[in-house]
């Protein structure tokens, strides 16, 4: 049934008969391609030596804590296979927690435990995870299956974030997360990623999660994309995904700018979730943020990046950035035309 709904949404939104766009057309709309992202922004602005700051979530967490940015509370870290049998002892009687590899990418290897019966655990969707399965998963993570280079990994066991109730209406299962892309310390674009049934509760766009663009100054959602096609309704709930005003938006932007300054990366995506109790917490930072955010905005990111380039260092620093954010958000569409 979900499938038929999906199809309906797609046909409704994509009356376009086009099968491709000419490079010139994309260029005129300021679309950033993956090659240009790598060559002109990542290689140019992200010093290789700082990559561990974003690739290793333990390091990211440390940096966040040093700069007073909220992160999910770490229960403990596992580095040795010999620790695996002692996991139950270490986790105590907690019933909710998240197990994640320190250097995993795109949410790979993350297990969210939302319930527990003795030594049986349950995922957010209610799937049973037996202790032996979990133990195997732990050793798999340590072996480096999910790590970027395949080298030995560490496990972070941390508090499970319970999403802010305001986001429940647009998220089906799992936790929506907010991605802010910052260029030279200035937020350039932001989106919220909403898990769908197709994505299995993960906010992973590759697997069919939905993304909506966010107005930088107001935190209100607009646009929308699913599987690289423009949409306006959530494929599972048929709720409009535009027009939702996100809570704690100012804090999200503030945290993202602080973290971007601390990371010293020129082109970085920072992922937040909004916790029902504590507000925005940083999940991870990404030195190679994806391009689908442009589809969610129905707008290319290149003009915004160029605009940020054109500013003075003073305008790109400290509190002056709020003015820049305001001005990026309120510029008319014509301003962004190349």
């Amino acid at each position: 049934m979900a499938v038929s709904q999906n199809r309906k949404t797609f046909t409704m939104e994509n009356d376009s008969k086009r099968f491709w766009a000419w490079p010139e057309e994309l260029h005129r709309r300021g679309i950033l391609g993956i090659n240009q992202r790598n060559v002109d922004f990542i290689l140019e602005h992200n010093p290789r030596g700082f990559y561990p700051r974003v690739d290793n979530k333990l390091k990211t967490k440390e940096i966040c804590q040093e700069h007073g940015i909220q992160v999910p509370e770490t229960y403990f870290v596992m580095t040795e296979h010999s620790q695996c049998p002692r996991f139950l002892e270490m986790i105590g009687n907690r019933t909710e927690f998240v197990v994640k590899p320190a250097t995993g990418a795109a949410g790979r290897g993350i297990v969210v435990v939302a319930g527990r019966l003795g030594n049986n655990f349950f995922s957010t969707s209610g799937r049973l995870i037996e202790w032996t399965d979990l133990r195997h998963h732990l050793s798999t993570i340590l072996s480096g299956l999910y790590s970027l280079g395949g080298q030995l990994d560490q496990i972070i066991v941390e508090r499970r974030i319970v999403s802010h109730p305001m986001l429940k209406s647009i998220a089906v299962e799992g936790t929506p997360d907010i991605r802010v892309i910052l260029y030279r310390g200035v937020p350039a674009m932001a989106m919220i990623r909403l898990p769908t049934r197709a994505s299995g509760g993960r906010a992973n766009l590759h697997q069919g999660a939905v993304a909506a663009a966010i107005e930088l100054n107001t935190g209100r959602t607009f646009g929308g994309v699913c599987r690289d096609r423009a949409i306006t309704l959530h494929p599972d709930t048929q709720h409009p995904i535009a027009g939702v005003e996100l809570p704690f938006w100012h804090e999200v932007l503030e945290g993202s700018m602080k973290l971007s300054d601390a990371l010293e990366m020129g082109y970085v995506g920072i992922d937040f979730v909004i916790d029902a109790d504590t507000g925005p917490v940083v999940l991870e930072a990404n030195a190679r943020p994806g391009l689908a955010i442009q589809l969610a905005h129905r707008q290319g990111i290149v003009p915004r990046l160029k605009y940020i380039d054109s500013l003075t260092d003073l305008q790109r620093s400290g509190e002056h950035r709020w003015d820049v954010i305001e001005s990026i958000a309120t510029k008319s569409n014509d301003f962004w035309r190349v």
Binding site: R18, A21, L26, A106, T140, A230, G300
Partner: protein, 520 residues
């Protein structure tokens, strides 16, 4: 300097380096080849005669350079004689004309070093010429030995030639007649003479040539005799006579004795056109002609080319032939990487692992691809099934992958055995499959389908096979491997191409599709 400018400079530097290295090797190879294939011949004349009358002249024809044969050294000696070199206007022969006022025996000696260049064999042997009206008359006229008006000449022409035939066909028929219909005859029986030859259907070599010229002229086709030498080791060679007919603005050679038509072998060098003797004199007595042809050795440095020296390390062809296959395979791998880079960065097709497609393709190159593909697919399936069965055992990664590796190795080994049993002569060679890479591929496929969904994993597999297929197409092109083995410096261009792809910041082809909704 910005990275962009620097990359362009480095890429251009590599192109330049490649061009320099390639042309240096190309020229040195060509030079060595020419030096070995060229042959140097020494032709000597030893001509003696007795001059009684002071007004007597003796004319000696000299060889001229052609497109295939170059006269490099020419030494003429004629003691007590006045000599002059002339060029005849119509046939462009070079001639030494000697005379003197003293009576007595004289001697003319000449020595020519002639270089034969086989590489010019595809050149036009003759250059285009126009034949003036007077020239035309000259080469149609009846001569002392070429009597076009003889009755049996006319008779033969009328039987062979018809008005509806083209000049080319008529020459061919006359040539066929002279080379095939006339049986060998002796000069002592008068078969040098055209009329006698035609009457009895017998001819000497000279008689055939004369007959062909006579018949051509009688049929209104300008023709002439050519005398020259076939360059081959000979103590006392006799000059050979053949024919040239004027056809299509060219003097086209025909040799009714040896049967060459329209093209003489490169080692036939003409000495005199429009004549049948090399030395002629109206009144000289006791004319003796002695010729010799000798092959000269190539220069020493050419023969010593394989002498051991450090620069030989740059010559991979010097390696034992058994190593050539492996070496050229290695040299092909960067091209596989180039194709992978093009597919990933310009087209945007994603694959399982960066170099897996190229390595897969390489393993197919020296195997029959049909059998190889069957083995590969069954190996992948066996590995995948094995991996699925292992999943519930919750093994650590390295031992788990090692089991998969062992399974696929057993599969390959027995697969080869089965194929050999079914078709013993098929010569299975697909065992070169990169088994460790396959193991990693299977593991990655398994994890990807778990983590990112089966659709995405299958997309990756399809991408891997597409890229591998393209790599195979290029890599299996044997000539490319050979060329790279000879000119490994061509990889400087490959590096330049990598630099350009590495700085390519345009859209990938799949992005034109991915972002199509943005241009509504």
């Amino acid at each position: 300097m910005s990275a962009r400018v620097l990359s362009q400079l480095v890429a251009l530097g590599f192109i330049l380096l490649g061009l320099i290295a390639f042309s240096m090797r190309y020229y040195s190879r060509t030079e060595a080849r020419i030096a070995l294939q060229d042959s140097l011949w020494r032709l000597t004349y030893d001509i003696g005669f007795d001059l009684g009358d002071p007004e007597t002249e003796v004319t000696v024809s000299l060889p001229t350079s052609t497109s295939a044969a170059e006269v490099e050294v020419e030494e003429l000696s004629y003691t007590n004689l006045r000599g002059e070199i002339r060029e005849t206007p119509l046939s462009k022969n070079r001639e030494l004309v000697v005379n003197t006022n003293i009576a007595g025996p004289f001697n003319v000696k000449a020595e020519f070093d002639i270089r034969l260049r086989p590489r010019h064999s595809w050149d036009e042997q003759n250059t285009f010429e126009t034949l003036s009206a007077s020239g035309r008359t000259r080469f149609l006229r009846s001569d002392e030995t070429i009597v076009t008006t003889a009755p049996n000449v006319q008779e033969v022409v009328q039987t062979i030639s018809r008005d509806d035939l083209t000049d080319g066909e008529r020459i061919q028929r006359l040539f066929d007649f002279c080379s095939q219909e006339l049986k060998p005859g002796l000069a002592s029986d008068g078969y040098d003479n055209v009329a006698t030859a035609l009457a009895n259907h017998r001819a000497t070599s000279l008689g055939r040539a004369r007959a062909l010229v006579t018949l051509c002229r009688a049929d209104k086709i300008p023709a002439r005799l050519v005398v020259g030498f076939e360059l081959r080791q000979a103590e006392n060679p006799r000059p050979h006579v053949w024919v040239e007919a004027f056809h299509g603005n060219l003097w086209v050679p025909f040799d009714p004795t040896y049967g060459y038509a329209r093209h003489m072998p490169d080692n036939f060098i003409p000495i005199r056109r429009d004549g049948e003797v090399i030395v002629r004199s109206a009144t000289a007595k006791d004319l003796t002609q002695k010729y010799s042809i000798m092959r000269l050795a190539p220069p020493e440095k050419v023969l010593q080319a394989e002498m051991r020296r450090p620069s030989q390390v740059f010559d991979l062809t010097r390696l034992p032939v058994e190593m050539h296959q492996v070496m050229s395979l290695m040299l092909l791998l960067p091209l596989g990487a180039l194709i992978t880079a093009i597919f990933r960065n310009i087209i945007g097709i994603r694959t399982l692992g960066t170099f897996a497609p190229a390595l897969l393709a390489m393993s197919f190159i020296y195997a029959a691809w049909g059998t190889g593909l069957v083995i590969l697919i069954s190996v992948l399936m066996a590995g995948y099934v094995g991996r699925s069965l292992l999943d519930p055992l919750h093994l650590l990664m390295v031992p788990r992958s090692s089991i998969v590796l062992t399974i696929i190795i057993l599969f390959v080994v027995f697969g080869v055995s089965v194929i050999d049993y079914m078709a013993p002569a098929s010569g299975v060679r697909a065992v070169l499959l990169p088994l460790v890479i396959l193991t990693i591929l299977i593991e990655r496929f398994f994890v990807t389908s778990e983590e990112d969904g089966a659709t995405f994993a299958v997309q990756l597999v399809v991408g891997t096979f597409v890229v591998a297929a393209f790599c195979y197409l290029i890599l299996s092109w044997e000539e490319i491997g050979q060329i790279l083995l000879i000119y490994p410096e061509l990889h400087f261009f490959t590096i330049a191409a990598f630099i350009w792809i590495g700085r390519y910041s345009g859209y990938r082809l799949v992005e034109l599709w991915r972002f199509r909704d943005m241009v509504k």
